[in-house]
Amino acid sequence: MPLDHEMLMKAEKPGRYIGNEINMVEKRIEDVRIRFSLCFPDVYEVGMSHLGLQLLYAYLNERPDVYCERCFAPWVDMEALMRESEVELFALETGDPIKIFDFIGFTLQYEMSFTNILNMLDLAGVELFSSERGEEGPIVCAGGPCACNPEPLAGFFDFFYIGEAEASLGSILDIYAQCKDSGLPKKDFLKRISNIRGVYVPSFYSASYNEDGTIASFEAVEEGAPGLIKKACLPDFTDPFQVLAPLVPLIEVIFDRVSVEAFRGCIRGCRFCQAGYLYRPVRERSVESLVKQAQAQLEATGHEEVSLLALSFSDYTSSVEAVDRLCGICTPMRVNLALPSLRIDQVSLGLMGKIQKVRKGSLTFAPEAGSQRLRDVINKGLSEEEILEGAEMAFRAGWSRMKLYFMVGLPSETEEDAKSIAALAERVVEKFFSIPKDQRSGSISINISSACFVPKPFTPFQWSAQNSYEDLMEKQRMIKKSIKKKQIQYNYHEGKLSAIEAVLARGDRKVGGAVFQAWKLGAKFEGWTERFKYDIWEEAFRLCGLDMDFYARRQRRFDEILPWDHIDIGVSKEFLIREMRKAEKAETTPNCRDGCGGCGFRKTGGGCVGE
């Protein structure tokens, strides 16, 4: 290991840098052809809580010809120590510097981690811009949800992978192995993979701009590069690739548990939610596969908790059966079952009742907007009666603590809409007191929190202007003032952080320059509120001659070429426009089970499919 005892003892949490976890994969370097460094641009505890990382790690290491090792962003204390002692960024498994690997692969979970990527490349001794890297050194690539608009990072990556790794990452590695054996240059490899589904090689494309800064054209400049990059997507999820032995961290991480996906996609179609469109269509896993996977993971890890993941778990068609069967496994093992994403309805409360025998915990629901009009605008598919009825059922069943999540700054939101967040929370409290004392228990406590709306690509709101951060903060202050009942606590969010997030989420190639400047000015761990520095970003955009409002606060036209128009996630632009028009009229669209909205996929008897 490249860190000596003294360095580790100076670091705040040395356990972040030592690897050695249970189920860590060990291979002999002589036995593999491809070394892959899986990089997560945040600290160890965040990265190790991420299901996608465990999935990719297992998926890549299942191949005998590949050795996938992990690499996280060292926290600022360790980074300083490493720079001082000239230790290059290394992979946890072997301690080897990642610059000698074949691939450096980043997972893009969150816009605010973009500067960490540059910092990690720099710390690794790898040139940041792909055009300056030459033949030596690794191929630098990225995937994950933020790759759906890869443009702000286009200059730094050799290729992006759009979609689900299990779908075609394997073919990319096969081609790489061939190219490596025949000693072909990097560009030949990139050309060969550029036609694999999901692969986007940004250097094969070029953009030109209008005088007003919008995109005039975006074209392939390399012969044979596809005009439209289609998302790679598993056709079937009934019994997908299983992670049999997840890594068990030796130090406490954010989510210390095993997680199993119940299904991909979401039937709901909330108009602000990028995940709801990105992961379409809905593909369910069989209960058999879910249970088998959960049991295998619990036995291989000894974890105390298993969590069932989905964008909205109560929409899983076999949710009751799954929870019953898992309770049967968990109880004798003394393992907790967690259901993190539930709707406020009968089914959910039934499920919670099964897993929380003691109604001590709090229930978490996300109405997202306070007024009915605004909930219709965002297509939340939730009426006030349903919310209050849900709350009543919960109180009668013995719960008394509830967390409610909202968003401020949603398109068309008025002051009244914002204030109605407080009003709704108060009505929930009143609901509690309207129940006779002997039919409820505990004392009521409602925790509401609001996040700031960030318009995201591939949602009906991708054209919308974001509120200024002053407005966002003002609205949140107003909500705070409107809360009169002492049973309600309110937490709110830093608007400036959401403002930068919005710029990066819908940025074009020019924004990459500002990301680079921000990094040079010292921006890192920007997703950590206490480390976030708005001034740096202002300065970075000023240096590049770019206007942040152009990206975040401008109402875009439907006929404008959007920076991500060459990416096809399967949901059509016509559908998104239709949804936006309906939003303007506060009209709702039924969920996919009640009626097909014609999103671009095709509904069939066995589920929805691509073309």
Binding site: M1, H5, L8, M9, P14, G15, I18, G19, N20, E21, I22, V248, L250, I251, E252, D256, E299, A300, T301, G302, H303, E304, M333, R334, V358, K360
Partner: protein, 214 residues
């Protein structure tokens, strides 16, 4: 029948950077994976009945550390060792186990001293000199943070024994719930920067001195 078992283990190499609370989790998960019949506490959040003789500071190797577990069914000590070892992370090993007899005190309550081996970053001659200097001192006052704020205490009486051999320094220091002295406290009094510190043995008090607990 419930029984209590003492388990002797080592914690070295990379594992020395794992702190006490994290170590507890590491061992609990190993016990879960091994499926040995450990007892759980009562109440809303049942947890495994497991307690350490004495926490090991981060950065210090442990040669012979002791943890006690309570079992809800009988298990032969050698079977416990055999069941647990495959589940240990690299750097940890279960060395031995034995039942704690009815009436025998818990290891935590027995600990009175601990032996350490320290690798020094100075020449053997220099080490010899500093050791003589330390042993010649009548008192060694240091500031220690306690419940009632910072207090000055004399740790000279807690330096029970010390010897040097080459660049290795051996120390026997008071340890346990009554008075617990860190090897580093003594080392900084000797102006010594250790290359490594290893806790060799946990000791109990006997009529004529100390002897290993396990």
């Amino acid at each position: 029948m419930a029984s209590r078992m003492l388990i002797l283990f080592s914690k070295k190499g990379r594992m020395k950077y794992i702190g006490h609370l994290d170590l507890l989790k590491v061992l609990q998960r190993a016990v879960s994976r091994s499926k040995i019949p450990i007892s759980y506490s009562q109440g809303f959040n049942p947890h495994q009945q497991m307690s350490f003789a004495l926490p090991l500071p981060i950065g210090v190797d442990g040669e012979r550390e002791i943890v006690e577990i309570e079992l809800e069914a009988d298990l032969a000590p050698e079977d416990a060792v055999g069941a647990l070892n495959p589940h240990m992370p690299r750097g940890m090993e279960i060395l031995s186990a034995r039942r704690r007899a009815e009436g025998e005190k818990t290891p935590a309550s027995k600990v009175a001293a601990a032996d350490y081996a320290v690798e020094a970053d100075i020449s053997p001659e220099e080490l010899e000199l500093r050791l003589e200097g330390a042993l010649a001192r009548k008192e060694m006052k240091i500031l220690k943070k306690g419940k009632g704020g910072v207090k000055e205490i004399d740790i000279r009486p807690d330096l029970i024994e010390a010897s040097a051999c080459g660049n290795c320094l051996k120390l026997r220091l008071s340890a346990g719930s009554v008075k617990n002295i860190k090897a580093e406290d003594i080392l900084s009094e000797m102006n010594l920067k250790p290359k490594s510190i290893c806790r060799l043995e946990l000791l109990k008090k006997t009529e004529d001195g100390f002897e290993p607990i396990f």
